[in-house]
């Protein structure tokens, strides 16, 4: 299981423009990251909260639906969050 995770991380990280990849569990605790500890810690909590909120908004609008992916585009960067129910993974 963890070999597949490592491979996926490496694959994503090698995409042009990817600054970092971060895997956060449902409690907002980072479990894997290619970014520095400081950046990881500041992103992890924020991302987890935002993903939770987005997920709950989706279910409020339609109880039968569910969040699968969240993309946040700012002037400077793009963050993509893949929400597989358990572990949001952030790609910067």
């Amino acid at each position: 299981m963890s070999a597949a995770v490592e491979e996926t991380l490496k694959r994503i990280q090698s995409h042009r423009g990817v600054k970092g990849v971060l895997i956060v569990n449902s409690d907002g605790i980072p479990i894997r990251s290619t970014l520095s500890t400081e950046v990881t810690d500041s992103y992890a909590g924020l991302i987890a909260q935002l993903t939770y909120k987005a997920s709950s908004v989706v279910r409020t609008l339609d109880e039968t639906d569910g969040l699968t992916f969240l993309r946040i585009r700012s002037n400077k960067e793009v963050g993509a969050i893949d929400h597989k129910g358990e572990a949001p993974q952030g790609v910067k």
Binding site: S42, Y43, L46, I47, Q49, L50, K53, A54, V57, V58, T60, L61, D62, T64, D65, G66, L67, T68, F69, L70, R71, I72, R73, S74, N75, K76, E77
Partner: protein, 102 residues
């Protein structure tokens, strides 16, 4: 104003688009997709306004000089794209299909 109408027409006729809501900074619905009811528009508006504000906060927490451009929320059944600026909030709801495998 005709630029706006042209853009709206373009969005309206794009395949997969099943709704849109445009509102001003005060949260008043300015335009909505013809088949959307005012209640549907209002519920999307309320939900996305809050979420976009939160996302904007996250972006600025990470970098005070940065700003949210847009937010893409992909669900199992549909996708909602939210673009925000000081004056308006634009919400587009569309169906999505998985990208073809390379």
């Amino acid at each position: 104003m005709s630029d706006v109408e042209e853009t709206l027409e373009r969005i309206k006729t794009k395949p997969g688009v099943i709704g849109y809501v445009i509102c001003n900074a005060e949260g008043t619905v300015l335009r909505r997709f013809p088949t959307m009811t005012p209640e549907q528009a209002e519920s999307y508006l309320v939900a996305m306004r809050r979420l976009a504000a939160k996302a904007g906060g996250v972006v600025r927490d990470m970098n005070p000089r940065d700003n949210l451009e847009y937010l893409r929320i992909r669900c199992k059944k549909q996708e909602v794209v939210v673009a925000r600026d000081e004056e308006f909030l634009v919400i587009v709801i569309q169906r999505w299909t998985p990208a073809e495998q390379a």
